[in-house]
């Protein structure tokens, strides 16, 4: 069954609502015991990077989660800060990340010389995702592929092969990452109407 990590951060109810409507069985993972019965894992997250890492480290789930993802290869989907946590580090904080996908989380820098548009921050609203690698996650998306974004930092992968989709905001950056069983999405599929529902359904059923 698909388990949603409940470590005190992120809108877990919103995921639960989506899966309820799809009639897809799911549960909250609050203990190490819960984690054992998960065949798929969702790692939500909002707010500051260090705060999120701190909460996950304190949850008592950290070691078992590493084992489930890295050794047992259980599919995991990180969302928003949950995705950013999969990196090595973030410019937003000083704590190490989960080190699941090589990369750093960077702040949008619109003052860099090669950037033309000085856009407002945070990047807020509906933007299109551009698919870079075929994935079952993108099944049944509509033509426009609009998702809801709300963030000021983005995942900069070391290996561009790990970027499954990108978005354009001032410049093009990775908004969906994937390495083996590890998936991450920067935007909020739980609040992205039909495209978001398709995305979450694809993760659950494929």
């Amino acid at each position: 069954m698909i388990g949603i990590i409940n470590y005190g951060l992120g809108n877990i109810k919103a995921f639960s609502n989506v899966y309820d409507r799809l009639n897809i069985a799911h549960f909250y993972i609050s203990t190490r015991e819960d984690l054992k019965s998960a065949t798929k894992i969702i790692l939500p997250g909002v707010g500051a990077f260090d705060h999120a890492m701190g909460m996950l480290n304190k949850s008592g789930l950290r070691d078992d989660l590493d084992e489930a993802v890295l050794e047992k290869k259980i599919p995991v989907l990180g969302i928003c800060v949950g995705m950013q946590m999969m990196a090595n580090s973030s410019e937003e904080g000083t704590m190490p990340g989960l080190n699941w996908i090589a990369g750093t989380v960077k702040k949008f820098d619109f003052l860099a010389p090669d950037v033309k548009a000085r856009n407002p921050l945070p990047h807020m609203g509906w933007n299109q995702i551009i698919i870079q690698q075929d994935s079952f996650l993108f099944n049944d998306l509509d033509e426009e592929k609009r998702f809801y974004f709300l963030h000021s930092y983005y995942f900069d992968c070391v290996d561009k092969q790990h970027s499954a989709a990108s978005a354009k905001y001032g410049f093009e950056y990775s908004c969906v990452v994937n390495k083996e069983n590890i998936y991450g999405i920067q935007c909020h599929p739980e609040k992205s109407h039909h495209n978001g529902v398709s995305f979450l359904k694809n993760f659950a059923v494929n």
């Binding site: 809108n11 945070p122 609203g125 933007n127």
Partner: protein
Amino acid sequence: MLYPRIIPVLLVHDKGLVKTVKFKDPKYVGDPLNAVRIFNEKEADELIVIDIDATANGREPDFQLIANLASECRMPLCYGGGIKNLEQAKKILSLGVEKIALSSSAIASPQLIAEIATQVGKQSVVVVLDVSKKLFSSKYECWTHNGKKNTKVCPIEFAQIAEQHGAGEIVINSIDNDGTMKGYDLHLAREIKSRVGMPVTVLGGAGSHEDIKNLIAQEGVVGAAAGSLFVFKGKYKAVLINYPNKNEKRSIISSLK
């Protein structure tokens, strides 16, 4: 590309949904949860819900109502009304709301914006400024407590202060245009948007898709919020929840690209 956000604003009064004119004469327009369900079906870009009683009556946000709204809402939700401290803000976000809106408490103490933003992230902190301009004056001022209290604070200066303190979005609401459906105060929109580097949402006065189109033609990627437009239909203002469909949206944003 990033799209402009077209945002229905729902006002809650005595647990029902109302719409005001110049912040007065609340007219009952329905049940908040039912409205959220309709906007789900219409795939609205975002939703703003403001409890107009909380601050005016000096009470806490209605957490039960917020929880019900959040669990029903399938689009990003911003809640405002009566938030005075970090604990309340965190509690509301934990109920599944994406953004909290501060107004009177932020104007009284901009430090509160910083305190909340450092904990929950600036992307979730919205500052709403209700502004009005005296007759024959060119000076805008921020009002609080449903437009009853003049703080004499300049909205343009305060928007910048709010940004420095970590606000992630500013909603500029024209009391003078509220419910009049005669179009946005485009001058005010320009004044604010040209002076801050965070997303700006404009509210007050939209009476047609054309009004939103004009705002976007002037300001580009901006939040276009409206109350009356999305709850009334026709010149007799019959209550009918509505929202632009895909084609109408395309036409509204046609000035971009």
